[in-house]
């Protein structure tokens, strides 16, 4: 075995024996495992309960009906998208959900309810669903659940008594047909609402209930306007016809999984790789730094250099600690792929699997692996160089802080910019600056980067790596036995140029 490989094997074994390595290694599988069952636990409960008391007896049914229509319209939209995705509209060509997702009118939502709602529709399409179809899951929960007034709350003693009695219950949860929910709103509509100046009264616990209040206000306003119009002589039938009018509008969305959604899905894995790359290089870079500094501070360097060349020491460390990084990433990737194809829910099923499936060009996979490894090497060599110049971790910090800032700040800014526009100026510019190329290109890979750009930045990156390797080799040759104060940048350059002091 060559001396570089012997050094690599020792570095690998030493780091693999540390607790820190295992903590980092198990971080991602643990996150995936937790996401399988903790998603619901960590997601804030969206739906809330409310109490509606209508002393007039005229408005509550209409408000409840309006709330139900809103909910059923959302379910209908999700169902129509699901039907289009699995191409099962032929199960009932006349059904409102058969012709794809769009804005559904009140009348269509009403028809959906009348035809048996979601259970009936799912019953119709079930026989035609392909075997690999995922179960239908509506993205829209029932946000506002009506409940009866809590026991002991007077509903016939006027709004003040009602409001005072509701103060306590509004601080807690109530049992609904969907389970326990926080009680967030109490509404009292007075007996002669509309005829007198008495307002409808609303008590809230401060939690956001804007859409619910807007719906109640719109429904009450509509009813008052209808009464006013009828009083002024408009026939009820005419009013009903006017009320059902809706501006005709068609909205063209790309099919499910295409367009912007496709870009987002395709970008998930490459973007995740950017973060993994950052974490991996920072963690293993610190290990690499510690390893070189240990040899310097433990006065091992001279013994080592009597047996191996500085370049062999450098290659050995790069290979060994690079192996640690690769082990980590391959293990993470294996866990992610395994989870994506075997998990039925959670992060893996919701995000990883669609992203893996969407990356359907082999060259993208090749580019992802290349940029990841190249990025790993670019940063690792910087860490090794710092280690070669430092007598202690304290010395290393002096070099490390500016280096980390130079790498991290533009990368984080670029990631934020990429989320807004993957082909914006900053990601484009950073793609051609070698130290940022791996991060920027990985971030952009899912959004349709041309193969020419991949080849161009790739060639430049290889050239940069060759230069970096050469400079690091020189630095190793001249600095490993150097002692004294940490050098400034000019001193480092002077040291590298000292060919005589090999």
């Amino acid at each position: 075995m060559s001396r570089a490989l012997l050094i690599a094997a020792r570095e690998y074994r030493q780091i693999a024996a540390t607790r820190g390595f295992w903590v980092v290694l198990l971080m991602i599988p643990l996150m995936i495992a937790v996401s399988q069952f903790a998603g619901k636990l960590i997601t804030p409960q969206a739906s809330v309960a409310y109490v509606l008391v209508d002393a007039s007896g005229q408005y509550a049914p209409a408000i409840q009906h309006r709330m139900e229509l809103s909910y059923q319209r959302a379910v209908l939209g999700d169902l129509a998208a699901y039907v289009q995705k699995w191409k099962v509209g032929s199960a009932s060509p006349g059904a409102v959900w058969a012709s794809g997702p769009r804005w559904f009118s009140d009348a269509e939502a009403q028809t959906f309810i009348a035809q048996g709602g979601l259970p009936a529709a799912l019953g119709q399409i079930a026989p035609r669903l392909p075997a690999d179809a995922t179960p239908f899951k509506s993205a829209e929960p029932r946000l506002y659940i009506p409940v009866d007034p809590p026991a002991g709350v007077p509903i016939d003693q006027g709004p003040d008594a009602f409001g005072a009695a509701m103060a306590g219950p509004l601080q807690g949860d109530v049992v609904t047909h969907d389970g326990k929910r926080p009680l967030t709103l109490a509404v009292y509509i007075p007996k002669d609402f509309g005829a007198s100046a008495d307002p409808a009264r609303v008590w809230s616990n401060g939690r956001s209930t804007g859409p619910l209040i807007d719906t109640i206000r719109a429904e009450l306003t509509g009813r008052l306007r209808a009464q006013a119009l009828q009083t002024s002589g408009l026939a009820p039938a005419v009013f009903t016809r006017i009320e059902s009018l809706a501006a005709p509008m068609t909205i063209a969305n790309p099919p499910e999984g295409r367009g912007r959604a496709q870009v987002v899905v395709r970008s998930l894995l490459p973007l995740a790789l950017v973060y993994l790359l950052l974490i991996t290089v920072m963690v293993t870079g610190a290990m690499m730094l510690q390893s070189v500094i240990e040899e310097r501070s433990n006065k091992l360097m001279e013994s080592m250099l009597a047996c191996v060349r500085p370049s062999e020491l450098m290659y050995g460390k790069l290979i060994g600690i690079g192996g640690i990084g690769l082990t980590t990433v391959v293990f993470w990737a294996a866990c992610a792929v395994g989870a994506a194809f075997f998990a039925a829910q959670g992060m893996a099923a919701d995000f990883l699997k669609p992203s893996l499936v969407a990356l359907n060009h082999p060259w993208i996979w090749g580019a992802m692996v290349f940029y990841f490894l190249a990025g790993y090497l670019v940063v690792s060599m910087i860490y090794l160089g710092i280690g070669a110049l430092s007598d202690s971790m304290q010395d290393a910090q002096a070099y490390l802080m500016p280096v980390v800032a130079v790498i991290m700040l533009p990368t984080v800014l670029m990631m934020a910019a990429t989320a807004q526009n993957p082909n914006g100026v900053l990601p484009h510019v950073l793609s051609w600056i070698p130290i940022y190329t791996p991060f920027a290109m990985l971030a952009r890979l899912g959004s349709g980067v041309s193969q020419v750009e991949v080849l161009g930045t790739g060639a430049m990156l290889i050239l940069f790596l060759a230069v970096e390797l050469y400079l690091l080799g020189r630095l190793f040759q001249v600095s490993l036995l150097r002692t004294g104060q940490p050098l400034k940048l000019g001193g480092v350059i002077k040291l590298i140029r000292q060919s005589e002091a090999v």
Partner: protein, 306 residues
């Protein structure tokens, strides 16, 4: 045949000349002492022999080859500044260095285990190095230098940091290596070690050679000194450079400190005294120490230890 030779070697670090036109040869077998005060160029010369640093000019040969890691299989090296991988076990450490010197895994393990047992470290062979005492760690370090049974063993200030007991152990080991056929080159600024161990010596001062040869040859560079007791002043005798009265010895006799002229022999002087009837009651030659030689050749401003 020489196992190590330097031919007009110069090493400069910027404006500073660490080694200045140094030439010497270490013959195979025996123990070669590298003497000099701090900054004399001992470590720099040894590092150049190991190819850790390269000379500015001149030529170096190690075991008949140019310096380089190709020689690592036949060379053992114990640096002045010593350290080990703290979390590696004793056995793994010694085996690792054996393998870096080109040994096969099995041979390295066997040799390492043998050395560990010989140094009394057997019970600790599976312990991490950071669990060992300082003395034990130094033995492990020495084992890493010896694991490949080197033809040439280079020790840079090997006795520094060792307690007297371990110094004696190391001295015995150096002698044993030499008896086993290895050539030992060691640097030191402690004259006693050099005096007890060295067959040949190289004295360095400020990067330049001031002497190379055996201990007797080194002592011969000093004028002979002796103490005699006589009735008459010995200043006029042939070969005497000076004679200083050291006090009366009773009954007309007086003690004298005598320094001989360069090249003059104490035996010749005694013979001349006997032949000429110069009455003597005491004739005691004084053998100069290496410390005296060093002071004579280098001067008193160098940091050395008797």
């Amino acid at each position: 045949m020489s196992v190590l030779s330097l031919d007009h070697v110069v090493k400069r670090f910027g404006d500073f000349t660490a080694v200045d036109d140094l030439s010497f040869a270490v013959p195979e077998g025996g123990i070669f002492g590298f003497l000099g005060g701090n900054g004399a160029g001992k470590t720099t010369s040894l590092r150049m022999a190991l190819d850790i640093i390269r000379p500015t000019s001149g030529r170096i040969e190690v075991l008949g080859r140019a310096p380089g890691r190709e020689n690592a299989a036949d060379v053992g090296f114990l640096p002045e500044e010593r350290g080990l991988y703290r979390r590696m076990t004793v056995l793994d450490t010694v085996v690792y260095f054996g393998r870096l010197k080109g040994m096969a895994a099995g041979a390295a393990t066997k040799a390492a285990q043998g050395l560990i047992d010989r140094f009394g470290l057997g019970p600790w062979s599976r312990q991490a190095v950071d669990k060992l005492s300082k003395g034990m760690s130094q033995k492990v370090q020495l084992a890493t230098a010896l694991v490949n049974s080197p033809r040439l063993l280079i020790l840079d200030e090997p006795f520094s940091g060792l307690d007297p007991v371990n110094q004696a152990v190391l001295e015995e080991l150096v002698l044993e290596m030499a008896r086993g056929g290895s050539t030992v080159v060691f640097s030191t600024h402690v004259m006693q070690h050099a005096e007890r161990l060295s067959d040949r010596l190289l004295l360095l001062s400020r990067g330049r050679k001031v002497f190379e040869g055996t201990q007797d040859e080194a002592r011969a560079t000093l004028p002979g000194r002796l103490v005699l007791t006589s009735r008459a002043d010995p200043s006029g005798l042939a070969g005497v450079a000076s004679a200083t009265a050291a006090g009366p010895a009773g009954d007309g006799w007086a003690a004298w400190k005598v320094e001989l002229k360069p090249g003059a022999d104490a035996g010749d002087l005694l013979q001349a005294c006997t032949a000429s009837g110069f009455a003597l009651r005491q004739f005691e030659t004084h053998k100069p120490s290496l410390h005296d030689v060093f002071l004579h050749l280098v001067g008193a401003d160098q940091e050395i230890v008797k």
